[in-house]
């Protein structure tokens, strides 16, 4: 393993009860790199992130996070390695106010962003801080789901479909935020249906098919591989 490698997933299999969903996922992410997991609906991208967090049923293989083997760890131990998870359904708590949602997560690393800095990054959240978490609009909830993991000092961000179902201006704002996070050297895994959102941000893209990595495409290969992606993703 090279010094710059932050996440190495090898031969990852995951199950929901009896159903075998991931069939040997392999990929690596370097420190400060942003990769995207692309694929059709049901390909296994969400399950990959959930397996990384220990949220599926049985899983086998290896997950090295910053040099530590996480395959047998409980979810809270994995988070404490410095991992921030933003689930597909956003996971905003209805029984907590927006600000309680923001402040809930414990520190999992040093150098997390301050609440003031986050409110500056997402001004809407400051206005809505006292509202019930789930009363926020879809876009605000997505901002909140992102903001609360930036507070914790997590350096590896697992972001599941953050652009899904949001208005174009909000998607554009999220793209700016991700670009800013890349400048700040966060390591990011984007799971995306929205190719146009992910393509300009990702240094490399992995295509997931039937619970395996079907292809790896670097940013500079993108133009040449467009026909393949168009075919595969139905763009």
């Amino acid at each position: 393993m090279t010094a710059t490698e932050y996440l190495r997933v090898s031969d990852l299999h995951a199950f929901y009860g009896e159903s075998h969903v991931l069939h040997g996922i392999d990929f690596t992410v370097r420190r400060g790199e942003c990769v995207a997991l692309l694929g059709r609906n049901g390909a296994g991208r969400t399950t990959t992130l959930r397996a990384l967090m220990g949220l599926t049923g049985r899983r086998t293989g290896s997950i090295m996070i910053n040099g530590r083997e996480a395959i047998a760890m409980a979810p809270h131990r994995i988070a404490q390695l410095g991992v921030g998870y933003c689930p597909e359904e956003r996971g905003i708590y209805a029984s907590l106010s927006a600000e309680e949602n923001l402040l809930l997560l414990p520190q999992v690393g040093s150098g997390g962003m301050s609440v003031a800095a986050l409110y500056e990054m997402f001004p809407n959240l400051a206005e809505r801080r006292h509202s019930q978490g789930t009363r926020l609009s879809g876009g605000e909830q997505q901002m909140l789901a992102l903001a609360r993991i930036l507070r914790t000092g997590a350096r590896l961000l697992l972001l599941d479909e953050i652009s899904e179902g949001l208005a174009p201006v909000i998607v554009a704002r999220l793209a700016e935020v991700i670009a800013e996070l890349k400048r700040r050297d966060y390591t990011i895994v984007l799971v995306e249906q929205n190719f146009r959102f992910a393509a300009p941000l990702a240094d490399r893209m992995f295509v997931v098919e039937h619970g395996q990595i079907a292809a790896e495409i670097a940013q500079h290969e993108l133009a040449a591989r467009m026909p393949y992606l168009q075919e595969l993703l139905g763009l």
């Binding site: 967090m53 809270h76 997560l105 999992v108 914790t152």
Partner: protein, 295 residues
């Protein structure tokens, strides 16, 4: 004025105070049931046994070790809480993945075993437990005599319920608790040790039941059978209030105690059934309970 609708005022107030005392026990017990249900999704049928253990341990502490009421009040709830933590570690944690019915069966079995063990060791007869001298006697309020111990029970249970509400609704620990109740897996994936919280929640719920037991010891005959009537009413309270609502559990407990007290004055024959009449009406109109959310 010393009559209201033809009922002597002193008798009415006396029954209301008694109703509040009973309501205080209902509130403490259903509060524990509600927080346990929220976190463990288990309807704790052993709750009455834990209440009985609280009272029995207070009596044993006095009988065997000469430890009085105040010592028992401090020592017994943590002791029963520790027992519950051991039960959670060794038994309950094995069934979280299974249908909630298993939790019901397991805790019901535990209630039978603990009840049986205490009956075997101490017999079914009741033991008297004296009111501590500091709380003996009554306060003359001018319009009625208020027994000090009753006032004490009401005050302690209100204070404990208020403190629990504050911790759950207003503190960081409470935010963890609410988050873990709502979405335990995600909360754990944020770095919070949810399994430990589940264990401690069961311990705290059990300690609340034991506290109610110690408080109840001087008001009743302490016996392995003392929980049987109480716990049936408490389950009715939980059904009326709506499972899983903290505030609902407390308010419903107090309210039903009062209704029971009032019924004793107005129509004594119905006082033991009025709770179930209320339950039937509430279930007909609001199946999720007064404070429950419809799914």
């Amino acid at each position: 004025m010393n009559e209201l609708f033809g009922i002597p005022l002193a008798a009415l107030l006396g029954q209301l105070v008694l109703g509040l005392v009973n309501g205080s026990f209902y509130a403490l017990l259903s509060l524990g049931l509600a927080i346990i249900f929220g976190m463990l999704h288990i309807i704790n049928f052993a709750h009455g046994a834990l209440y009985m253990m609280g009272a029995m341990l207070a009596w044993m502490a006095l009988h065997y070790f000469g430890l009085g009421y105040w010592q028992a009040l401090v020592l017994v709830p943590p002791l029963v809480g520790a027992f519950a933590v051991a039960v959670e570690r060794t038994l309950l944690r094995r069934i979280y993945r299974l249908d909630p019915l298993y939790g019901l069966l397991l805790t019901f079995g535990l209630a039978l075993v603990t009840g049986g063990a205490f009956r075997h060791a101490f017999g079914a007869g009741g033991q008297p437990y004296a009111i501590p001298p500091q709380l003996a006697g009554a306060i003359d309020l001018g319009f009625m005599f208020l027994p000090k111990y009753r006032a004490w029970v009401i005050a302690v249970s209100l204070a404990v319920c208020l403190a629990s509400w504050y911790v759950i609704e207003k503190t960081r620990l409470g935010a963890y608790l609410r988050a873990a109740t709502e979405n335990p897996k995600l909360t754990q994936a944020f770095g919070i040790n949810v399994p430990i919280m589940v264990m401690l929640t069961f311990g705290c719920g059990a300690a609340l039941a034991a506290l109610a037991g110690v408080l109840a010891a001087p008001t009743t005959q302490v016996s392995p059978l003392m929980s049987s009537n109480m716990i049936i009413t408490v389950f009715a309270v939980v059904v009326i209030g709506g499972m899983g609502s903290i505030l609902g559990a407390v308010l419903t407990g107090l309210g039903l105690g009062l209704i029971e007290g009032l019924t004793k004055v107005v129509y004594a024959e119905a006082s033991s059934t009025v709770v179930f009449v209320v339950m039937a009406i509430v279930l007909a109109l609001r199946p999720a309970g007064l404070f429950g959310k419809e799914k």
